[in-house]
């Protein structure tokens, strides 16, 4: 039974349970821009990517000091059998348009990130430096004497992942990505709200909103229940339409009411899994594959799936979409020289391919990808690895980005400076709100919607205008 999109829309409202809560004030009449197409893509690096090993100091003075402080790790790199190096002449120097903001200091990317380096040089990528959770502006002094508020649960993976996605530790119901999507749904941006927030990397609070429910896709289209599409089961009952009908009703939990909340949630997921998967597959089955080749890596596969969904945006009736991708393995307490570079190569190649795909589709200006991670890491090392930090550096990539620039502040690759909370763990100088606000505005939210989703925004200086 094929469902019309209208049916899904009606069903969606009932399923979301939105009636329980006061809305966050999204008002269709005042909602901002729903023209054209806009997509945000969050790429989350789980474990805490070492910012100090991502944006490296390049001018000789800073580089030599960095080498000194990180001597044991630099030894690992020097001896590295796998070939990854951090010798100065192998680093990829960045030439930001705002180099003057950093005086004589210069910066570079690791040799594994040639693709991202090229995007930066071409003006399609920017770096937003030293970003992380803040409740208010804080420095080394006010951190130590506790005269400024510290964000809770610093250094805890799950809580910092949650804080990046939903501005508070684990247990949050809504992420800012989901709330951005809610605002656009309130403005009726999409014909089918089911395809507004899409994850290719599991359930995450980032895409959870009051109205929007995230939908998960894998690389090969949406899964279908094989008993409904290629029935093995019914045997001599195979010819019975009634049997087929009943099976279908069972798998989509038709008319199922349960008082137990856990049973109810399982019934809901059963229903959605048939209805929405079927709609998704029906909509995308005839889409021609993209020509742009993607690397055969985890992130490559995820970004390829996202690109394919974007390619089907018209037939899915979507004008505003938010995506979530994620890979892990960044918690490099040990063996950093052998594990981080390979992942950085994976990131660089996958993002480059993704950007190329958006050009192929003619939507390079309309898609913005940004990175995030639990936290940065310590500047000082524990031997062959680093420990949990706080502020980290992020990339923003897209045709609409104010590229080729490093936004925000880059503290010195040193210890005991004003933004060192200990061992070179950076105190962020750009908050998550300041990072998210420009993305939200670009996505089409108006100022009141931005403030609803990022309540602490006005604690901080105006956000860096990277897009």
């Amino acid at each position: 039974m094929k469902l019309s999109r209208r049916h899904i829309l009606r069903g969606g409202a009932a399923m979301a349970g939105a009636g329980f809560l006061p809305r966050l004030g999204f008002d269709a009449a005042r909602a901002a821009d729903t023209n054209g197409y806009r997509a945000l893509v969050c790429v989350f690096f789980k474990g805490g990517m070492d910012g100090h090993d991502l944006l490296l100091p390049y001018d000789e003075t800073s580089y030599n000091r960095y080498r000194e402080i990180r001597a044991p790790l630099m030894s690992s790199y020097d001896r590295n059998e796998a070939g990854a190096r951090r010798t100065r002449n192998e680093l990829l120097e960045l030439s930001p348009a705002n180099a003057g903001d950093f005086g004589s200091r210069r910066f570079a990317l690791p040799p594994e990130m040639a693709g991202l380096h090229e995007l930066f040089t071409d003006g399609h990528a920017a770096i937003v430096a030293n970003t992380g959770p803040l409740l208010e502006t804080i420095n080394r002094t006010s951190f130590r004497d506790r005269s400024a508020l510290r964000p809770p649960r610093l250094g805890s993976h799950n809580d910092q992942q949650s804080t990046w996605m939903a501005l508070a530790p684990e247990g949050q119901r809504f992420g800012w990505g989901g709330l951005f999507a809610d605002a656009q749904i309130a403005a009726n941006a999409n014909e089918v709200r089911a395809f507004t927030a899409i994850s290719v990397a599991g359930n995450e609070v980032f895409l959870s909103g009051q109205d929007v429910q995230q939908y998960q896709v894998t690389g090969r289209g949406a899964n279908t229940v094989q008993e409904l599409t290629r029935p093995q089961l019914l045997g001599s009952g195979r010819n019975s339409e009634r049997a087929q009908q009943l099976l279908d009703e069972h798998f989509r939990a038709s008319g199922t009411t349960r008082s137990n909340l856990f049973e109810r949630d399982m019934a809901t997921v059963a229903r959605r899994s048939i209805e929405i998967n079927t709609l998704f597959n029906d909509s995308t089955v005839n889409a021609p594959p993209l020509l742009t080749p993607f690397p055969d890596s985890r992130l490559g596969g995820q970004l390829q799936s996202i690109a394919q969904v974007i390619d089907s945006r018209t037939i899915l009736g979507a004008k505003r979409q938010i995506f979530f991708a994620s890979i892990g393995g960044f918690d490099t307490h040990s063996n950093q020289a052998n594990s981080l570079p390979g992942r950085q190569r994976e990131i660089s190649e996958a993002i480059s391919a993704f950007y190329a795909a958006t050009e192929e589709m003619g939507v390079a200006q309309d898609v913005t990808l940004f990175t995030a991670s639990d936290f940065g890491r310590t500047l000082t090392v524990n031997g062959d690895g680093t420990d949990h930090g706080w502020g980290g550096h992020q990339f923003v990539v897209g045709g609409g980005v104010n590229g080729g620039r490093i936004f925000g502040d880059v503290p010195p690759a040193e210890v005991d400076h004003d933004w060192d909370s200990g061992r070179g763990r950076l105190i962020p100088t750009t908050s998550i709100e300041q990072f998210a606000a420009p993305l939200g505005r670009w996505f089409g939210l108006n100022e009141s919607e931005i403030l609803s989703t990022l309540p602490l925004l006005n604690q901080f200086d105006p956000a860096p205008v990277f897009i």
């Binding site: 979301a16 809560l21 044991p72 809770p152 649960r153 610093l154 805890s156 799950n158 809580d159 684990e170 247990g171 119901r173 809504f174 994850s199 599991g202 359930n203 609070v205 429910q213 995230q214 998960q216 896709v217 894998t218 899964n223 094989q226 008993e227 093995q232 019914l234 045997g235 001599s236 009952g237 009634r242 049997a243 009943l246 099976l247 069972h250 798998f251 008319g255 199922t256 349960r258 137990n260 909340l261 856990f262 049973e263 109810r264 949630d265 399982m266 997921v269 059963a270 899994s273 929405i276 998967n277 307490h333 040990s334 063996n335 594990s339 090392v381 524990n382 690895g385 420990d387 949990h388």
Partner: protein, 575 residues
Amino acid sequence: MVWGSLERGQQPRRSNRVSLALLATGLLAAGCNSAEDSGVAALLAPEGSVGAQSSNEASRFLVQASFGPTPGDIEFVENLSYSGWIESQLGMPMTEYLAPLILETFVGNEVSDDVNRYDFWESSVLAPDQLRQRMVYALSQILVVSDRDQGLGDRPLVLAQYKDILTEHAFGNYRDLLDDVTYSPAMAQYLTYLRNRKADMASGRVPDENYAREIMQLFTIGLVMLEMDGTPSPGDIETYDNEDVKGLAKVFTGISYQSDEFFNNDEEVEHLPLITFNEQHSQEEKTFLGLTIPANTDADTSIQMALDHLFAHPNLAPFISRQLIQRFITSNPSPDYVRRVAQAFERGSYQLPNGRDVGEGRRGDLAATLCAVLLDPEARQDPLTAPSDFGKVREPVLRFAHWARAFRVTSADASKERMLRDTTGTGNLSQQPFRSPSVFNFYRPGYIAPSTATGDANITAPELQIVSEASHVGYVNFMSDFIRDDTPDQNGATGDEFRPNYTEELALADRPAELLDRLDTLLTYGLMADETRDRIIAVLNEIPIGEDNDEEDRETRVHTAVLMLTTSPEYMAQR
């Protein structure tokens, strides 16, 4: 209803691996789970004790306490009640993981790198020490190690040794468990303190903080101060900060393999408990959580002092108790329930309904704690009158194992079952024992699912963290293949493992109502919803049983009924 139709004397056939182990260690294989096991007479309750349970109550208890009821188990619990089953389980010989592998190497066989992916499937379906292995599975989701770590994926002996640790202490003491886990090569590799070294001023090197942080956050005290009932103490007080982590990190230095030299890479000893090397151990004062270990304290003493100090923390009992309740019974226990279990943990003993005591009386006794979890009034309450927020989503591994046990799979060598090699994807079960994506397990104890009924009620539903439109369909398709016994072996042919035995069900196939009664007790302990029942019966009535294809038609009916029931909300959730 007669449950005693399990073929008498039929021994579940285990792989050679397990049989060898049992022989080698001189243990008796406890075969049938029927009430005729030797020694049962000794377990019969004294006069005036608690009576038997109904078959549905027995089935529900086994869903909570084991990997799923077999018909024989249900009969056992019906006759001997919960106390009898628990005591039988407490006395059951342990399944071993490392010894059989060592034996293989002694007789000159190679041990496959993949052993860790396979061995636990067999335990979950066939191990006689069900309660113990179920506790091992629960502990493996708290004190997590995973073969997805690149240093563990090709070290099956190391992971087997870790499984032995959890097995040995499952009914033992949490302090002993912490000790063996700390000295385990698996944990040292997973949380990166293997060969962690003291600070070195010259190079700026400081000790790795990973284990120090995670042992506090995940294995002992959690992030905020707790009351004994598991609720956060007023003021949201964080239990530790970075300084505590730094101080404790110094303790876990100087630990390496059992060899003469700290830096030796000797495969022969990789699976043995680790030892300490004082020249690599921090000689500084080590201060954390109000304890100062004096300067120049040797490594082993420092470790003992640190573990003692963590073990003594008042958070430990509620922190561990609440998570154990979540693994077995319900995602949101009432504070009173948590408190009662935490008190059993603190007391170290628990009195069974039959009047006998479990536990050694030492704080941290896991047998006592587990009994408190399973036998608490909140766990044993009638599910028909329980509140709507009682219960949990059942994790896919348990949904699958339950099916295998209910239909008397007797051969469960997962190495010959291609679909079990990697079940972590959304196309299959979204999880696999000992293969979680990180030390945070497949799901977090505090996960609240957005846009759901449980989420709207602001209650945790950890298992929903791995549930999605994609994963649900994967589960349905996965079960469908196993139920119809249509799963490939390593060569792609239909294999001989995990074969269900539907004998009783086939006999009832022409009487759908009776068939469903049986399946209801076996799979949903009497909670099959009317609409599920009506729908299944309606479908079965559309499948004629012809004279020519009688057997095949009966099979079709049974397969259909079992698939529909195992994909119903009442089976996929637990209450």
